[in-house]
Symmetry: C2
Subunit: 189 residues, 2 copies
Amino acid sequence: MDEAATRVLDAAECLFYERGIHAVGMDELRSASGVSLKRLYQCFPAKEQVVVAYLRRRHSRWLGEMRAFVEGHEPGSRVAAVFDWLDGWFREPGFRGCAFVNSAGEMGAGSPVVLAVAREHKVAVRGFFGELTGDETLATQLSLLAEGAITLAAVGGDPSAACQAKDAAAVLVDQMLSSSRFRSKSGHR
Amino acid sequence: MDEAATRVLDAAECLFYERGIHAVGMDELRSASGVSLKRLYQCFPAKEQVVVAYLRRRHSRWLGEMRAFVEGHEPGSRVAAVFDWLDGWFREPGFRGCAFVNSAGEMGAGSPVVLAVAREHKVAVRGFFGELTGDETLATQLSLLAEGAITLAAVGGDPSAACQAKDAAAVLVDQMLSSSRFRSKSGHR
DNA sequence: TGCCAGCGAGAACGGTCGTTCTCTACCCTA
DNA sequence: TAGGGTAGAGAACGACCGTTCTCGCTGGCA
């Protein structure tokens, strides 16, 4: 990837997330990145492609950082670690919710490709919970809690949502463990 | 309230929710509602006030409909009924997620009043769960599940999120009941 | 009947957007 | 040194936005 494109995406990641997509014009992207308008349009023939590239890169970074944090914990406490990581994120200055949900809400109705990128992100998050738990149902339920926490932390302005979600997640994990132990011990049929 | 204002809000509720706020201009609001631009600006001196009024009215309707549905069920199955109601909502044609989350994501960064209305909505939803359960912690956890279900149904395009959330909610409610029974029976101290 | 306040229709205005074009300066090659 | 292709700076363009203004009409009242 071009170094100019990287600078554009750096600027886009700050500005789009902070103020929303339609509130940031190409001119502002230009002045913030120091990349001329001509070159900007050589890298990204339209604004929508800047948005898509911004979201794709943010997806890699976000999931990578979460994964690195979680995998630094014992296997038995990794689900809880996810919510600890979310808690740290919620308390960062400038936290404004999920970039993918915000972008999809803003452009999704008129831009199927942005909606698709957001969807891929959510599928990947659920997949990560699947890796952690090895159980599809539990993975979905945990991703529900995580999504809810992100939404309530952003819109509700309450970072403690992560902690509440962590407690609920512990209950769900316990329940799943005991029910699967029960199933394997009783071995029905 | 003026009948013209009602017609404007009817149009706004359809258009803003379906296509997003900044994608719908005042001219389109005028033609869709049949209210002249002059009168529209008499009712709402700026677009932001249309947005706020739209959100407030939607909040009343949405919570009212959910409440009516839930209160038509036995007290013991009302938490589950919330998620049944969400399931029906998710399957409606044109479902596009939470209007408050979408609006806050689109305008929240530049419009504190819109963010505040969205926040009030989320507080009210949590309060409703509080009425149902009589337990603050459980209410928060259930609202996390509900918010997560809305997000995943909208962005992930998966209406079955409501069903998954319902199952998780049942686990959390059971756990809460058994732990409080335990506490009252053992009567610690 | 004459008059005036209020209305709707839509033009007008200033601003901003995404995108393209122009022009100038520069660098690499011959 | 001469020339041509490239890049940057920024003007230009057409479209659209939110908002205001104009203007002709209407309908109630003296």
